[in-house]
Symmetry: C2
Subunit: 1007 residues, 2 copies
Amino acid sequence: MFHSFDYGFGNIMGFRKGACVQNVLDSVVQALLADENRKFIYVEIAFFQRWWRNQSPAVRDIVKKLVSSAQLEFINGGMCMHDEASPHYIDMIDQTTLGHRFIKKEFGQTPRIGWQIDPFGHSAVQAYLLGAEVGFDSLFFGRIDYQDREKRKNENSLEVVWRGSRTFGSSAQIFAGAFPENYEPPSGFYFEVNDASPVVQDDINLFDYNVEERVNDFVAAAVSQATITRTNHVMWTMGTDFKYQYADTWFRNMDKLIHYVNMDGRVNALYSTPSIYTDVKYATKESWPIKTDDFFPYADKANAYWTGYFSSRPALKRYVRMMSGYYLVRLLIAGAARQLEFFKGRSNSGPNTDVLADALAIAQHHDAVSGTEQQHVANDYTKRLSMGYVEAEELVASSLGFLAKSTSDKDYKKPVTKFEQCPLLNISYCPPSEGFLSRGKSLVVVIYNSLGWKREDVVRIPVIGELVTVRDSAGSEIESQLVHISNNSLGIRDYYVNAYLGKSPDEIPKYWLAFFASVPPLGFSTYTVSIAKGGASSIISRLHTTEGTKTGTIQIGQGDIKLIYAVDEGKLTHYINSRSSVEASVEQSYIYYSGYDKSDKDPQASGAYIFRPNNTFPIKSGQVPLTILQGPVLDEVHQQINPWISQITRVYKQKEHVEVEFTVGPIPVDDGIGKEIATLFSTTMDTNKTFYTDSNGRDFIKRIRDYRTDWDLQVKQPIAGNYYPINLGMYIEDNRTELSVMVDRSMGGSSIVDGQVELMLHRRLLYDDGKGVAEPLNETVCALDKCTGLTVSTSYSAVPQKLTSCIHMHGEKLFFCIVSLIQIQGNIYLRIDTVGEGAKWRRSFGQEIYSPFLLAFTEQEEDSWLNSHVPTFSWLAPSYSLPDNVALISLQELEDGKVLLRLAHLYEVGEDKDLSTMAAVELKKLFPKKEISKVTEMSLSANQERAEMEKKRLVWNTGSAPEEEPTVLRGGHIDPRKLLVELGPMEIRTFVIDFIPNILEMVQSQK
Amino acid sequence: MFHSFDYGFGNIMGFRKGACVQNVLDSVVQALLADENRKFIYVEIAFFQRWWRNQSPAVRDIVKKLVSSAQLEFINGGMCMHDEASPHYIDMIDQTTLGHRFIKKEFGQTPRIGWQIDPFGHSAVQAYLLGAEVGFDSLFFGRIDYQDREKRKNENSLEVVWRGSRTFGSSAQIFAGAFPENYEPPSGFYFEVNDASPVVQDDINLFDYNVEERVNDFVAAAVSQATITRTNHVMWTMGTDFKYQYADTWFRNMDKLIHYVNMDGRVNALYSTPSIYTDVKYATKESWPIKTDDFFPYADKANAYWTGYFSSRPALKRYVRMMSGYYLVRLLIAGAARQLEFFKGRSNSGPNTDVLADALAIAQHHDAVSGTEQQHVANDYTKRLSMGYVEAEELVASSLGFLAKSTSDKDYKKPVTKFEQCPLLNISYCPPSEGFLSRGKSLVVVIYNSLGWKREDVVRIPVIGELVTVRDSAGSEIESQLVHISNNSLGIRDYYVNAYLGKSPDEIPKYWLAFFASVPPLGFSTYTVSIAKGGASSIISRLHTTEGTKTGTIQIGQGDIKLIYAVDEGKLTHYINSRSSVEASVEQSYIYYSGYDKSDKDPQASGAYIFRPNNTFPIKSGQVPLTILQGPVLDEVHQQINPWISQITRVYKQKEHVEVEFTVGPIPVDDGIGKEIATLFSTTMDTNKTFYTDSNGRDFIKRIRDYRTDWDLQVKQPIAGNYYPINLGMYIEDNRTELSVMVDRSMGGSSIVDGQVELMLHRRLLYDDGKGVAEPLNETVCALDKCTGLTVSTSYSAVPQKLTSCIHMHGEKLFFCIVSLIQIQGNIYLRIDTVGEGAKWRRSFGQEIYSPFLLAFTEQEEDSWLNSHVPTFSWLAPSYSLPDNVALISLQELEDGKVLLRLAHLYEVGEDKDLSTMAAVELKKLFPKKEISKVTEMSLSANQERAEMEKKRLVWNTGSAPEEEPTVLRGGHIDPRKLLVELGPMEIRTFVIDFIPNILEMVQSQK
């Protein structure tokens, strides 16, 4: 019997008005002190920290004692109980690490239990990576499909051994359990102030004396649960959302229940925790059924598939992903800081990335990036991310400035170059690149690559003039192309710049300047853009349209990839890769689903959580002329699909994929109908109902339409019931080819028809779906005084002066206060490969989407920059780069000067014939200028040594002879002389590295 | 700044579902411990006691320290915050004494402040008697008339010096204050969990930081209140109904407000209490306006006169009054116990009257006897009273049995006579008197008189047969009369006996046997009823009706009083007292008011609190024949006014008043219209808008129709706005005569037309009036399975087995589970005197109504009783009785063997030419068989010595020259040799008396 929590909903730092975590913790501490039998579990550390900061040393001391006596236990222990559909696995690891290291530092504790009671479906990555690899002994959750739950109740299989990873099998399994009914106490056992359950009245003199009755209720509920549970032990979650505002009301009643129930003797009741429960379950040596894959999608009744939230608030989802990628700049900052500390001494109090880290951590909450919060709460999350970004941006600028200083000039006291960055580059707003020519200057673009591989990619920046030339780090002129910015794009640019900054942009750029840049691993290159004086000038794209043309086809693509368009229909028909000889018929189209309102006899509406399409409508693009721009770097096809959907399809000369930049919205709802917009890629492939979607951007899971592995699916919602979350991408295959689409944020996707891939891009709905958000998902945006719906000044009215309008507070600093866009823009990437060849692109390009080039700008007089600065740089040893199948996903200086390093193998077992193999990383070449004294391998969340974690691992009994298990390949022990880190497929290894503190020598030898 | 409470509403021992006093006290104690600056006041002791009983010695110790350091202060300190309209002053004193003595005993504290924040109007008796005479330094309340409040706000006269007593003037004045708006915190300063007020956010890093804003709000609210308040001090009541469930939420915010407001410096904020506030107000030496009389009636807006509750739940009101009168049996029990203790030793744990005392105490709550609670709460109050009654009834029976034992037989081990009592005598149900004849026995009726005077009154008991004779204590046959019981009465008897007992009565009595009994003061007489064998038999009433008679008049009355009825109209026309030569024209009629529903543009409905009549309808009684019964003891006139109103008018040969026994109901509401039933007595008297109503059964206050002394009344509700509470009675007068009506319970009354007196008897309404009860006042009653509306089994479903049905649990024991009568029965008493002569009857007869004869029955074989038992007895010295103007209102043994004695002078100054004078009581004759060692005069609530209380009394400045004050006559010091207690007009003196413990001698000399 214990207490569960779910605190993010409503208000990320408070929760609902008037109810707050402070009440819970204050009153729980008192209640625990009052009786040492009482126990309480606490889950979400972000909210705990806020409280902890305000506690006196005396209270902290009390709490520490309660924790050490296990009356108060931290479980799950990440900053929040993250969503399992929308977050990227790197974010899940980071936010868990933040929480776990806090618990370790303050309390010396290592949480043992995963506790994902509220998220709306459960991912494989959660089970094996954020569960087993974190060292958890069990994982509990509340929500599983109602059909699945019924079957599991009948078969006593709510509790299982979950093997979430194909690659790791039983080596990363975890004991996992769902409750009989979400995460509520048994009916009639709610004891919050004003709850309706009868309190236990044991004063025989009072008229409401009810001990026998309550004991009978208790026993009946226990027996009822016991009949669907293996072993003699059942657990009750004594709490629910927003409860324990005055903990005593619960404990007082539970005290009495335990007392009288045990006197009664039919069942034995005690204060327990999930840890104690796990231990007693383990001790029974019971055998448990095996569960593989995941628990998606989730429906709690026939018409309530919780698959809408996979795409809810697409702008917030994109912003979270952008910030997540940007947060990798801590690699850069960590590196720069190691140089700087010699000069300045270490400073923990200065600007750092902690604000961004905290904001990103809580943004992973199951009512944050999920898109299922109220508008003002979404605004709050966004604001926190923006503030984190602003601080990180400054650090990046100064770090780059410091690194770019010439060797002879490395004096920290001299000012460094002040770089600017362009977070609104996606809507073609970038003041430095737009203004330099008019100021008679050249533009210096420092391009940082946070991947461990050398990277070549096209950079696009908006410019005003035409006569420009681009030089590389060596000062050589390189090919570049000017691509006309469409009026459509300029309109969006103007509108959103106004919305973000409260003013129109100063300049109006005419072109995108596109050029191909090459950057070393974990390093930067410098490109300069200047007025073309006699030299080779950038080439203006050839522009033509199909307007007036009625028949025929058009082919675009300067390299291996060609796209064929049918002029009469104005649409894509074929995809050709001449290198790999792949040729496929592909069409793309847009559709919308009309959302159910509440008028049906089942009043379930489509909303922030729920996807309940009423009907499907094609969005015709026929007869729309194509506008085509072509040049040496890339070709573009512009299409205005309808008044509120447009897209640009790009094919790069040196890339083998297609980029589709879509702009959707404002979705019209004047007809009173909510709409959910999807795009479809249709082929003739024979895919046999099968498609593959990723789990949190990591493992791919096979999906079969209208089918579940675990039970005989009753199909009630043939569309919503086949939607799955997409974070990295999805693919389909037949015996010849495979088609992959990759995404720039999390969204929902499916394959409703064989040969087809479907992605839901945007949703605007007019009814609340009754699952808790209590607000329709009807995002609107305001630009100054032209505003419909939500206004910024209203929603932030309670904010003190210094933050009254985040739009204006930092002047030119960009604050993403409003991501509740009526209109969203994004990218989908498409590629077709010979079957078996797609993984390489999905994995390596997936890293590139996640970690785009970071651009920093400054101006210079003439061409002086390259002479006075370091033009190109890598953190790695010369010409070393990480293996193709390994990514560096964390590199962070810890407070004690040690470094936290996390390396991830990118391939599953059998995924690629070359790359699903053991890889090795040479640490010496990762840290060429430092001497490693010790490498300690840690659990995934870096709160205990890996060896210690493995030693404690429980071995659960799965009864029948084990299914054939894959041979699990994991890297071996690190030889301290070789310092070679091996990684088997899908392996993520986490290290804390100690260096020999010979900083002086190290720094002086640097360059 | 402090915290106010109002706990009775909703559920008398819990309050609303889930919210409870336990939460408040548990969490307040923690919050006070956390910071010694914090303070809290606690008011209602009944609820505190329940909590206190369950606390460990450690917690009690902490609480005692908090009380002694004044962090926790008890104010008001009665068992509950009693109503001020419906309770009798004796009940108010008793319930306050119970609470005050508890506080004294447990904490050594004496509450200093009256705190009547919620009651709906404020009585003069509250101010001078339960305020000044209790020793309070001030009295605060929340509700005063909205017009009055406006004027007082304009004139800074919300705070006054209140002289509630004409008789005592400034010698019983009190500093009193109303708040600017009921008892709420300033708008925006509510800090309960889930309240809407913004919490004080002082973390500058959080977006909802709002310190400046909240400080500004605070200062603005303080300044606003300061402009309507004299002196620089204002107080805020930081709390309201059902709050402080988790006290920390309030204290946390108040801590911050105090901190930041004081930093700001414009105002100074502190945790205070009403005591501290009173002291600082006093210290200013400010001068205060004088207030006299009371604050009735109360309206909070034009159409919301809270005058309906004066009559709401008339059956509950009667039951409370019956129990209150019955509780005076503790005089009898105390006396008997003093004899018994010699034999048995004192026992505090045995049966006693504590349960009845506690039940009566909480029944005085402003949402109890007021009739403004929900039905199930009314049932709960009633049940508690019944349980108290059952225990007291047993004590009375055994006490009488013991006292009636013959002197030679006074061995406590021998069983005493088992007396029965007949609490349902009012509906002619009395098994012992009905059955003795059929069993061939005689009936012994022991009649106890709890008044201090010899008393002669008619006793009526139902009997089966006709040939009976009555003998007095000396064995002499006396005159008696048999009065036919009407079929109407038998129907009611059958129905309610069924409802109470779950079965029909065994026998059907045919007659009331009426005889005149004479009983010594504080003593009993014994009458026997047996079969008349040759001797004088009881005389059967002459019965005739006016049926068929069309004209003429009929006169009834065998003594001085004659009533003349007009046969054609079937109604009373004249009243004649031949002794005093008073002759007056009097008519009686019934009317009903239709209650407003919610259809008006002001949706204020008539309801439990509010009286808002829509229209007035006469209830015609014309043409109804009179049934007349006449005989030697009394005459009766029976009238069936309409199908649901009947009445019996009685004139006793030896009495000079008229008794009207009315039966009203079930009020029909099938027409969808709620109705409020009043009866009118109309005369030709020229009363000039003036009438007199009592204050809690004590002082009479002059009322002038459509007029208020304190402000220029805007008349919006000419009927509801002229209603006043009646507890004892009301009267009108002109220069010749005065007409008095006396009541058997509290009800509302008025004089809407000159010469007329109006009493509201019953109300049944179909809409909630929106003042908090959240239920229409639509009382229904169930008899077994014939039940409309509320069922007993439903409403008590949560009660454990032993109490499941209070109807059946004690078998023949009568449980008044259902007082929610669809039909009520009661008595009004009428008398007309020469002007200036009415007070004597009102005062002495008022005592008789309050303390009717207590009848106890047993059977005997033949006439053996008088020979073997003590037939008559008085506690007083032989032939001593109290003066006519003094009543003994409390006599109670205390735990330490001392006795608490309270004597009350019954007349106001100038009320009666003979009796408004100093009276004297001889204590030696009050306790003839005991020797008094010490008499200590106490404050009214007996928690401190009177002298000490007087020494501390604050002398408030009332500025201008004092108005002419009456000469205040108070009794002097008690000479320990004479032991004579003097009492001036209206004086109530409270004593604790010590006796010389010579029990053996005392007892042996007894009789």
